[in-house]
């Protein structure tokens, strides 16, 4: 029997095992099964594999620990507590926008610092007065620094970064 013919028959055997063949095709398969032991064996293979696969997947689901799973989902649905995020003053969004803009504007400063591989706490140039501008206070590589938090207070802002080496960088900005 050629592979193509066998594939055609086996495709129907697979669907027959699932009870998904139409009446006429199912009858043809029944007749085939009466006379062809190899077809019967292949049907049994499909049935055995389905059974074993179902048992395997059931076991995977059963082994997983769902204790507290629904609670975690429900907790994540709750809105953040107001205490965790103080309400913004009317002027705050504008201040934050200005702060973020300043941060973007100073992006080259980070690139330069990455090249030197030294930067940890930087007081933004010109933000706290010329005397403190651009001071590098701690060592670290900010090349792949991840922003952890940003905050603003009054006219000042601070961004907290963490580098892949674990160094924390605080970037301060102000008027």
């Amino acid at each position: 029997m050629s592979d193509t013919i066998r594939d055609t028959i086996d495709e129907r055997l697979s669907a027959f095992a699932d009870g998904e063949l139409g009446a006429e095709e199912a009858e043809e398969i029944r007749r085939l099964l009466e006379t062809d032991p190899a077809a019967r064996a292949r049907l049994e293979d499909f049935q055995a594999m389905s059974m074993a696969l179902r048992a395997t997947l059931d076991e995977i689901g059963e082994e997983a620990d769902f204790e507290g799973f629904a609670d975690r989902v429900m907790d994540r649905l709750k809105p953040e507590s107001p205490a965790a995020a103080p309400p913004e003053t009317a002027a705050a969004p504008e201040k934050r926008r200005r702060f973020e803009w300043r941060l973007r504007r100073r992006a080259p400063l980070f690139a330069g610092a990455a090249a030197l591989a030294t930067l940890a706490v930087v007081v933004g140039p010109g933000l706290w007065g010329e005397s403190t501008a651009g001071r590098v206070l701690l060592a670290g590589d900010p090349a792949d620094a991840k922003v952890l938090a940003m905050s603003t207070q009054g006219e000042h802002g601070a961004t907290l970064f963490k580098t892949s080496e674990g160094t924390t960088i605080i970037y301060l900005t102000g008027k």
Partner: protein
């Protein structure tokens, strides 16, 4: 009396969080199993399951009941799992590229003689379960997916066609190829060892 999915969804839409919790409890294992079958990592599957329920909750307002709740939940789970696979630098792509591989066919009766044919009496041995999970993991993603939906979810060909967005004829053909491939992989794993279901009277 236990409420059906649609009634629970309607309650959720009216703001009843307890109803949503009931849906989570009802489907958490299924969602996890489907996610696991796709990403093959338990921890990641658990994250996906959690994210899927959150996504469902966010979009409850859009659910009109045109498909079953589970089909909808499944689609969201699947999309999240596929996003994760793609994020793993084309892992899914690599798997699908193997779709054309040639494997030696298993001889007729090979699997049934190894695995047994009576699910009521069969107890899956740990070793076999591991081989099955490993073989499943080697399948191309689309084959793994359709097998899981058929065997775990018990979806009909009609439901599979709807869920996967493919014609019913493709469902039949894809399932067959998935099974044939799985059998061929298992043949390599199981060899001639008498590995399989422990068959005997229970109790």
């Amino acid at each position: 009396m236990e409420l059906d999915d649609l009634s629970l969804v309607r309650k959720c839409q009216a703001g009843d969080d307890q109803a949503f919790r009931t849906l989570v409890l009802r489907y958490q294992r299924k969602v996890f199993t489907v996610a696991f079958a796709l990403v093959k990592d338990r921890e990641e599957a658990m994250d996906i399951a959690q994210d899927a329920f959150l996504r469902v909750h966010q979009r409850l307002g859009d659910f009109k009941g045109e498909s079953s709740f589970y089909t909808w939940l499944y689609r969201i789970t699947r999309n999240l799992a596929i996003d994760r696979l793609r994020a793993r630098r084309g892992d899914a792509q690599e798997l699908d590229e193997k779709a054309g591989w040639e494997l030696e066919r298993a001889d007729p009766g090979f699997l049934s003689s190894r695995l047994g044919t009576n699910p009521q009496r069969g107890v899956l041995r740990k070793e076999l379960a591991e081989q099955m999970a490993r073989a499943l993991g080697e399948l191309p993603e689309k084959h793994r997916e359709i097998l899981v939906l058929r065997e775990v979810e018990g979806m009909s060909y009609e439901e599979l066609a709807e869920t996967l967005g493919i014609p019913k004829g493709t469902v039949m053909s894809r399932l067959y190829h998935a099974r044939a491939k799985m059998q061929a992989i298992l043949r390599g794993y199981l060899g001639d060892e008498p590995l399989g279901l422990v068959v005997g009277e229970e109790g």
